[in-house]
């Protein structure tokens, strides 16, 4: 299992469009990818659950990756989040 913590810097947080982009990114991988905020967890391949966490600018989130391609997923998602979120 791999994980990292990240503080959201996108002024609008993970609203609909970025959530959609994150889901698109996550779906490219086999492993389970979850986002945890304040103890609540969302599956990064499901847009509705992800949006319902209402992740905002300045929030710290924990990303976990569990499965065969977890290393590649972890690197790709971290790069994506740094660039877009």
């Amino acid at each position: 299992m791999r994980e990292f913590n990240y503080i959201i810097t996108d002024p609008e947080g993970i609203h609909a469009r970025p959530a959609g982009e994150l889901v698109k990114e996550a779906k490219q991988f086999e492993c389970k990818i979850t986002l945890t905020k304040d103890g609540k967890t969302g599956d990064c391949k499901k847009i509705l659950g992800l949006m319902s966490l209402a992740v905002k600018n300045g929030n710290e989130v924990k990303m976990t990756f569990d499965g065969a391609d977890e290393d590649a997923a972890c690197e790709a998602i971290e790069a994506f989040m740094k660039a877009k979120l």
Partner: protein, 543 residues
């Protein structure tokens, strides 16, 4: 005749019949079914078709309103692909042995309620998206197509609210105007209306039902009004207004997109003054190069409590985004004197024009000031925001402001909140500021001369007092000399200077200001094109 009011999205006059747009309220019945797997397949096929429709809408919206606004249909597709959504529908079909329509309606309601219950305006609004995709699947399942315009002639569309999918599907050649009961200035409908340049109102206080359906009406976009069955006298006025609007539009057409440049190549920036985010439509329509004076006090005057950081942030962000990279100069809180807010609980003063007002309130009550500054800096991540401080009389004040700004920036940095480059300037509206403008110019990025107060303080004449008219000369040489002095001092220190008072819009002085080297004039939106005309006809070298 009935008159209703709404928020103006776009100006102009539209005359025609009202067509009330009603959603096809899909009546969903709960029915027992025998073959669950066949029902699941029915759902999956309908969902597949909905996905294709959404792709079609995305492509259409891309052309009509651009990528950023079309993205909503991509998000809709993702929602329909969401495993939680699909599992919920299939689960209801399988465990309750019910029809797909019922399962979709229930799932849609559940998810939209989840969003509706969130304590975040943006997320609450997403409830409508979940409803919208569910309605789409329901429509396909039940074989009912979306409501369309049942009209052959162009009409004024009146609706409770319009979902993006609804406006995109409409035949635009049949739409004279949009009038909605709900909806915001940033809604898809509003964006579409602006793109189409047709008058539109949102948040209108009428009932979208048979009481207005089919009736003749006139929408006055700029005034934010719709007249249903106007009487003859009103009609005459509105026709005249339409005529004027068309003439203005003609002037606009010939001057729009043209530079504000004199025959001998001298540039002048022409910006708009606004006192409300409702004025944004006219700013865009009149081709302003930016906003030179955004009177933030309206945010305070409209409320009965101190506006929160979030409330202010959303307003500033909207303006910054709407202006799309053009400069937006926001003046910090300027209340006191004739503009009073009860909840500030200010003491009564003998001479309020020279009392505790504007920056003086901000510096004595820094917590109010900091809330505004935080909102402004946060919004600066979304556009080109500049901040301007009113009623400055000393260098010391500017340094105090800068210290508070530094605190605000440090706090934002510590929280990892982004902000953009923010130019900071001051209003020159006191004779004191004029006399030390050389020193002030070292402290700030720009000056904006507020000629209304500057004239009043220089001539010691209360402009509201009509008995003093015979002593009042708006072109008094003292004021003009002061403006010249400020421009010279600003340019010596390499900063730019504008005028945002009434004198800026005074066409008799435009050439004088060009000669002085004033860099920017900020005027009410309607004055921009007449000014552009004069500038383009002037040769400064020959003045």
């Amino acid at each position: 005749m009935q008159i209703y009011e709404g928020k103006s999205v776009f100006g102009g006059i539209a005359m025609g019949k009202i067509c009330v747009y009603k959603k096809n309220e899909k009546q969903v019945k709960r029915q027992k079914i025998e073959d669950e797997e066949a029902e699941v397949t029915r759902y999956q096929e309908a969902r597949e078709k909905a996905m294709q429709q959404l792709q079609g809408l995305y492509d259409k919206a891309l052309l009509e309103v651009g990528e950023a606004n079309a993205a909503i249909f991509e998000v809709h597709q993702m929602m329909l692909e969401d495993d939680d959504y699909n599992e919920s529908v299939e689960n209801i079909i399988r465990t309750e042995h019910v029809n797909a329509e019922y399962a979709v309606a229930t799932t849609g309601d559940n998810f939209s309620e989840m969003f509706a219950a969130m304590d975040d305006d943006y997320m609450r609004a997403r409830a409508a998206d979940v409803k919208d995709i569910s309605e789409r699947v329901l429509g396909i399942l039940s074989g009912v197509s979306d409501a369309d315009l049942a009209s052959d002639e162009p009409v004024i569309i009146v609706a409770d609210d319009l979902a993006p999918s609804e406006t995109v599907q409409m035949d635009k050649s049949k739409v004279l105007s949009f009038v909605t009961v709900h909806g915001s200035l940033n809604s898809h409908t509003a964006i579409l209306a602006r793109t189409m340049s047709i008058p539109a109102l949102v948040g209108t206080n009428l009932a979208a039902d048979e009481t207005v359906d089919g009736k003749f009406a006139v929408v006055d976009g700029a005034a934010g009004k719709i007249y249903v069955e106007p009487d003859e006298a009103t009609m005459e006025l509105l026709e005249k207004k339409q005529q004027e609007f068309l003439e203005q539009k003609e002037l606009l057409e010939t001057l729009k997109g043209k530079e504000n440049v004199t025959l001998d190549g001298k540039q002048m920036l022409l910006y708009a003054n606004i006192g409300n985010s409702k004025d944004l439509a006219t700013v865009i329509q009149n081709d302003a190069g930016g906003i030179g004076l955004f009177r933030s006090e309206f945010i305070y005057l409209e409320r009965d409590h101190y506006p929160t950081e979030e409330e202010q942030f959303l307003i500033y962000k909207q303006v910054a985004q709407t202006l799309a990279g053009k400069r937006v100069i926001i003046r910090t809180l300027d209340i006191g004197a004739d503009k009073q807010c009860d909840y500030f609980e200010m003491e009564k003063e003998e001479n309020p024009a020279m009392g505790c007002r504007a920056i003086r309130i901000c510096l004595t009550r820094p917590e109010i000031f900091k809330t505004q500054l935080r909102a402004l800096f946060r919004a600066s991540a979304f556009g080109k925001i500049a901040i301007m401080y009113p009623m400055i009389v000393s260098v010391e004040e500017v340094r105090k402001i800068k210290a508070i700004v530094a605190e605000v920036k440090a706090e934002l940095d510590a929280q990892g909140i982004e902000y953009g480059e923010v130019e900071q300037g001051i209003m020159i509206e006191t004779p004191a500021a004029v006399m030390i403008s050389d020193l002030l110019a070292e402290e700030v990025d720009f000056f904006s001369i507020g000629t209304n107060d500057l004239t009043q303080y220089t001539l010691a004449i209360d402009r509201q007092n009509t008995k003093l008219d015979e002593f009042y000369d708006p072109h008094h040489p003292a004021v003009l000399r002061m403006i010249r002095m400020v421009v010279e001092n600003a340019h010596k220190k390499g900063i730019w200077v504008g005028i945002c008072g009434d004198l800026g819009a005074d066409l008799e002085l435009t050439q004088e200001f060009l000669k002085m080297g004033v860099d920017e004039l900020s005027v009410s939106p309607g004055r921009i094109l007449p000014l552009r005309k004069i500038i383009r006809e002037t040769n400064v070298g020959q003045l």
